[in-house]
């Protein structure tokens, strides 16, 4: 825990873990040591559902640049979806 920079956010959706799909209810976002990515620190996101055990986790570890690009891309896609009238509800 060398930076201790972490935020938790409640989410809805599904993730595919080692045992298949499961319902997600939380994302843990940190900028700290990754387990695998070749950086001292990375933007780590753990999509989890702790009620299903610690193994109910989908993990990504991103470089700072990749994380910023991902944020922009998600926003662009949501903007396009909104412009197309697709955000009226969960379909």
């Amino acid at each position: 825990m060398c930076t201790m920079i972490v935020e938790k956010v409640k989410i809805e959706g599904s993730g595919k873990g080692v045992n298949g799909w499961f319902q997600l209810n939380q994302a843990n976002v940190s900028y700290d040591h990754p387990f695998d990515a070749p950086y001292e620190h990375a933007l780590n996101i753990d999509f989890v559902n702790e009620s299903q055990g610690l193994g109910a986790r989908v993990a990504v570890e991103l470089s700072e640049q990749a994380a910023r690009e991902l944020i922009r891309t998600i926003q662009e896609v949501l903007d396009q979806a909104e412009a197309g009238g697709h955000l009226s509800g969960h379909e």
Binding site: M1, C2, T3, M4, V6, K8, N28, S30, D32, H33, F35, P38, Y39, E40, H41, N44, D46, V48, E50, G53, L54, G55, R57, A59
Partner: protein, 251 residues
């Protein structure tokens, strides 16, 4: 020094020990075969958890002649793969310092109760474990040497203190009762070279016995042979420094 005509062996297993608050936690334990008496080490695992590197490090210290115990500082977070457990702890902002220090003290007391101990117990840690090792050495009576490998957040600004980490380890330096070996990479961002300078100045100010080595071309975690941060030459030299330091103060 090992020669090929020696007979050697060790035994290793998961054990249960008393940790902070009297909690029963698990630990990986290894020791050389024989009656001893042997010096001993407590290992403080790093932020990525009670993982394979630390289980292998436990064996490595034992093969070098040290009774060695590595408490699972994340025991209370639950069980799963080491990464899944460590991810949970990371999301929760780490374990409280008091919990880690209590568990490491428990490891030291476990060893001191063994009939084949020579009565000398050191403590070693890397990353958050380096910080925890330093905290334990300063706050608990009974450690005879401490090895801090790139422990981050030894220097902490007042605004970063919180109920889990209420004291900056550097502020406990006056209480350090034993010699310290510190190994650091000059390309590390936690601790930065400037923070290592601060720590060294504090040790000097209080007249402590210390030995700091700083490596060019290395950042954080340069002992981790399974990761991109591994630096072969610096790691070989660092381990040589570790063994010499422990031989000097624990044999």
């Amino acid at each position: 020094m090992y020669t090929t005509d020696m007979h050697e062996g060790l035994t290793a297993e998961t054990v249960t020990m008393k940790g902070a608050n009297g909690d029963q936690i698990n630990a990986f334990f290894a020791r050389p075969l024989g009656d001893g008496p042997f010096p001993a080490m407590v290992l403080a695992h790093h932020m990525p958890g009670w993982d394979q590197w630390y289980r292998e490090a436990t064996l490595r210290f034992a093969l070098r002649g040290y009774i060695t115990i590595t408490p699972n500082l994340y025991f209370r977070a639950g069980h799963g793969t080491p990464e899944d457990v460590a991810a949970k702890v990371r999301a929760d902002g780490g374990v409280p310092d008091a919990s880690a220090v209590g568990d490491l003290e428990g490891g030291m007391r476990y060893i001191r109760g063994l009939p084949f101990s020579n009565g000398k117990v050191g403590i070693f840690g890397t990353c958050s474990g380096g910080r925890h090792a330093y905290l334990a050495a300063c706050q608990v009576k009974g450690f005879d040497a401490v090895v801090d490998c790139w422990g981050g957040r030894v220097v902490m600004p007042a605004e970063s203190l919180n109920p889990k980490t209420p004291v900056a380890p550097i502020d406990l330096t006056k209480d350090l009762p034993c010699p310290i070996l510190g190994l650091f990479g000059n390309e590390d961002s936690s601790p930065t070279p400037a923070q290592v300078d601060q720590h060294e100045a504090e040790l000097k100010k209080h007249g402590k016995t210390y030995e700091f080595h700083r490596y060019d071309g290395a950042g954080h975690g340069f002992f981790y042979y399974h990761a991109a941060m591994y630096r072969q030459a610096q790691a070989v030299d660092g381990w040589t420094k570790v063994w010499a330091f422990l031989e000097k103060y624990l044999a």
